[in-house]
Symmetry: none
Subunit: 404 residues, 2 copies
């Protein structure tokens, strides 16, 4: 039986309260063959205590050897098999900024770019214009009219925006327009199946008008569209887990995937520190029995290749942790969605350290602190990330017995 069906059958509407703290890209690698990983190098007295008192292990986000994208990696942590729920980034991005993607709608991620007088791209990100400039350009795009469909456009951040096409007979199986290089022209949208011909045609009409409207917005004088997707229609936390869930995250994508599974999105500030985010968790705590809290900076510093900065972010999270623990949650899960070793400057396939702290129900292991090598010895072993939710619910005493 698929995980979610089993959960739907066994979950109770009462039980303990759960915090799922995700340090994005937490897993790391040593820089030198004998050296520590970022997490091992960080001084983390609070996380070490939780690891000692709780159970630890390593999660496999998608499958062994597979480097996860952020969307599927979070779906896995939420208990949704990402190989089954294969969701386009367009839907995640749109959901992240609060743009509704309904059944039959087609969503896409948009980038402003710069083209020269020959129509060739000179900058795929339009010089990373400030968000305000992006919002101005988006206002021009909102004036575009294409027959028979409604097109919603909304700025995301800097040169990025989201687009949702609404109408009859739309199909998201169309090709992307980003040529993935400069000195190349944006590609036309092409249907990947016959049913998507009309959608491709409508999008090309919109793009042609966009080019005219954006002439005044140099360097944001053209667009590319990627990640076409339709409503993923995901099962909701309320239904599957009988939880009343909330999300505290700064970045749109993470809010998006949380909204798609039914979480309330708590308002955050663009420059929230980990402590700011934990204080927002504390404010929301009385109203929810599950809070997902997402820390982005671990991943960003990993992608920058900055080992020491990633260590510093982990230490900052550790120092702020009492703000969460003071809420007396029944269960605290601390993990990452995937690894982002500074050494590799990108997401990687390596398993991710996890600790589950639940004073009433956990079985201790012999792990001395929170780190990759310690977690290898942990009582949870190595397991698919889709099992994190069942374990958290079990520790929260929110699952009934299977069979008599």
């Amino acid at each position: 039986m698929a995980n979610l069906d089993l959960m739907r059958r066994l979950t109770l509407s009462e039980g303990g309260k759960i915090i799922l703290l995700v340090l994005d890209g937490l897993g790391g690698l040593p820089l030198e063959v004998d050296g520590p990983t970022e997490l091992e190098a960080a001084t983390t007295p609070n996380l070490d205590r939780l690891a000692r008192e709780g159970s630890t292990g390593l999660t496999i986000p998608i499958a062994r050897g597979i480097e996860p994208g952020s969307g599927p990696a979070h779906l896995a942590l939420f208990g949704y098999d990402p190989l089954v729920y294969d969701i386009g980034r367009g839907a995640l991005e749109a959901a992240g900024i609060g743009l509704n993607v309904g059944p039959g709608d087609v969503a896409a991620r948009g980038n402003f770019c710069t083209i020269d007088e020959h129509g060739l791209i000179t900058d795929r990100r339009a010089g990373r214009i400030p968000t305000e400039k992006g919002a101005e350009a988006v206002r021009s795009l909102c004036e575009i009219i294409v027959p028979e469909v409604q097109i919603d456009v909304q700025e995301v951040k800097e040169h990025r925006f989201a687009l949702v096409l609404r109408g009859e007979g739309l199909d998201s199986r169309v090709s992307e327009t980003d040529p993935l290089g400069t000195q190349l022209a944006p590609l036309p949208v092409r249907p990947e199946v016959d049913e998507a011909k009309r959608t491709a045609d409508l999008l090309n009409q919109w793009i042609a008008q966009a080019r005219e409207k954006l002439k005044a917005h140099h360097p944001a004088n053209m667009v590319t569209l990627r990640g076409f997707a339709t409503d993923p229609n995901l099962p909701k936390f309320q239904d599957v887990y009988k939880l009343n869930p909330a999300c505290v995250a700064v970045y749109p994508m993470y809010k998006g995937v949380s909204r798609l599974v039914g979480m309330d999105i708590i308002e955050t500030g663009a420059h929230d520190t980990p402590l700011d985010e934990f204080n927002r968790v504390a404010d929301a705590w009385p109203s929810y029995d599950f809070v997902f809290c997402h820390i982005k900076a671990t991943d960003s510093r990993g992608e920058d290749g900055n080992f020491d900065s990633k260590v510093a972010v982990i230490e900052e999270v550790d120092a702020a942790l009492p703000a969460l623990l003071d809420l007396n949650p029944s269960v605290v899960v601390v993990t990452g969605d995937h690894s982002t070793p500074a050494k590799m400057k990108q997401h990687s396939f390596h398993p991710v350290p996890i600790l589950i702290w639940a004073p009433e129900t956990h079985r201790r292991d012999e792990v001395a602190g929170f780190g990759e090598r310690e977690c290898t010895k942990g009582g949870l072993g190595q397991f698919p990330a889709t099992d994190v939710m069942p374990l958290a619910l079990a520790h929260a005493k929110r699952l009934s017995r299977y069979g008599a």
Copy 2:
């Protein structure tokens, strides 16, 4: 999504080069309760260094508790779920000696045996006649004509040959003829389904003629047929993994399974030592990005029940290992296809030690050397052998990200 579908979707055509070194039947058992296994008893400074520097674990070839045959165990290492790709030994044997098994063909493994004047088997292997004698007997079998089908016969080794039946409407679901004992007559071929009646009839006609033809070839005066199989039509490494693969193996069966997955078969000598085989890998290395190298003697000495000889083979492999490492592969995987403990004198179900050495991407564990007990502490944990290829490809940076 099945492993191979996911691989087909994510594999890149560029990346590092991989060596998969399989010591057949590598896993072992201690003779005394407190003693070492064969691998633990062997002095293996090179393997120990790779294990220390790399990641280790234990693979489960088929499923927990299942004793693997060599064919399915290798398919698993190549990433093909052996419970899905359930291939008859006849097809493997035929492919191993270069006999093509096409769609609709039926292949079988043949044994010469000795029968007495009453038709009862006195030696199931015809005194293990030398290969030249087997070839002589095969030449007689090639003269047999059965209506409407073409029958190719080719010697394998000693008393063993392979047979392929080609024609319309054939079906491999027929019973074997080896009674698995002496003082018993060979069994007739029986159809296991109605559709296979004609095939059984044709094979029985062929066997009756074979008996006549072989009267002059005592002790090889009769045949038994086993492992009826049709073309398994396996996905190929080139398609699934975008690899250009080669196989260095001495025994036909291993060449056969390698050919079935698309590998080029490098010529070897019947008496190649491990170092000889490694030198053949080195010669082939510039032309390939994946080389599978198979060492048979570990398994043979295990089946002989000769603990010390198996130890000696492992030490010989270790001593020759620099010939492989000098090629500067991006990834080296050393493992077995299954366990063959000398104590048991047969294949066994026990998990198999594995090390993956990939200096740029592996995460160290606390393992001090290559052996069953050390691997139990390894960072890879215990995992299905079908995950070896995804891990190797990931370390070789030949997989793209799953999802955005």
